[in-house]
Amino acid sequence: MSAGTSMRVVEPLRALRLTYRVVLAQLVTRGRLAALVLVGAVVAAVAAAVGVSDEIDDPLEAAVRVIADLGFTALVPIVALVFATAALGDLRDDGTLVYLWLRPMDRWPVVAGAWAAAVTVGLPLTVIPLGVASVLVDGGGALVGATVLAGVVAVIAYSALFLLAGLLVRNAIVWGLAYVLVWEGIVAGYGNIPARMSVRGYTRSIITSRTGVDLDLGDLSLAPSVIVPLVAAAVALLLAARRLRSMDIA
């Protein structure tokens, strides 16, 4: 109990790494992985089927449809939803957040570490099957590049948004599901402003701008379609750090 021990603090980068490791260990369960790998495999299989088919008039359009409809409306948001809402939300709900909170550490590295963990699981589960799908679907190099780019941007953005949601509300996964199905799936189609407020609008814009195939909502040029979601992610993470500082811990 010397003066030296009382001054112990954990440096931010170390705090980030510690959070990252423990959140990753909590997130990666065999059940979740198996289920979502299976979903990715189905997407890739459908892509392969479309790729080898010779009964299609416009192969590129069919290919883009598979990637956009299956990949970016279902696979990416749901994978990000499952992991990002759990990243800090599960810790808060079950009462383990205190083991990262009551520590000589800053708040932002905890948020950043948890987000990095969610992205670490989310990326391979989405970008690999979608990348494979974009190759199998035989839509050309532009589609592969667009798919990977849009996948990375989408996972980063969805993960940050859903992580914040996990800290703000209970049952974040149900709210997130409603956002994905109702807002992005239905409301976004009815106007410019809702479209600009859905990640889906930007991922579709990336694909449209790189492949030239017209998609609903996909009417932005490449630069803003990449930058806006990344900025949104950063803002969401800042808000999450503020929330973590001010919230009640069980």
């Binding site: 059940g31 289920a35 979903v39 088919s53 009964e55 299609i56 749901i78 996964i173």
Partner: protein, 286 residues
Amino acid sequence: MSDARILDRGYRAYEGSRSGVAGAVRSVAWHTVRSILGLGRKGRHKVFPVVVIVIGFVPAVAFLAIAILLGDFGDEVRPEYWEFFNFSVMAALVFTALVAPEAIVRDRRDGMYALYLSTPLTRPTYLLAKVIAVAGTLSIITAGPALLAFLGYTFQGLGPEGVVDGIWVGARVVLAGVAISVIYTAVSLGASSLTDRRAFASVAVILLMLGLSLATALMVDAAGMTESLRLLDPLGTPLEIPARLFGNRTVEYIDIGTLPVVLANLGWLLLGAGTLVYRYRRLAAV
């Protein structure tokens, strides 16, 4: 003082008969139906199930109204009984994904499962009660619109001729609705038995039913692959049952024989029910 007696201390022995396992199943099933529909609970719990059921009936009522208003002129647009089953499929999906998992996931979270198993119920009889409750409620959505059409047509004199014919039509409508409901219930409860979190169960049911439906549709329509792939669609395949019962085929399944359709439906039923039973056999009561 000899007539001083203590009459009742508020708790008595029970000498009557007990209803046994059948009574227990009945009680749990009825209780589950009530909690699914939010009966006896606060208003906000009723909103969602009621909305789902209403949504299920809206298209059927609209078609029915048009068909009846047009009378004999409506022969062309008047849907057949089996076609009414397609009108409520979205409502059935929402029910299957968001409402049905609650029927078993909740019991595990709030301790009722352990309590039920401490009664004459066993794991199989408990699950039987749950399936009866969920499939029974879901049947309102699946068979309801067609039954409504059956009644509407009959009152308008457009229905089946004679009592025997009437019973035959009604029986097929109910049978088809129950069959669809049982298969959806099996898939939903099978998925729900894999997780303790209702949200994950909902995600799983959505991915399974909607995801496979989209995927098989893309493979058949966009990639031009064999139509038999549609049998892997747990959302659409059960809807083929009413069509076949009424001697028709839907456009999507036009080239598929009735035997494969029956086998595929049986497959989904067994897959769901098998998962459910397997998981619960291993689930400790306390």
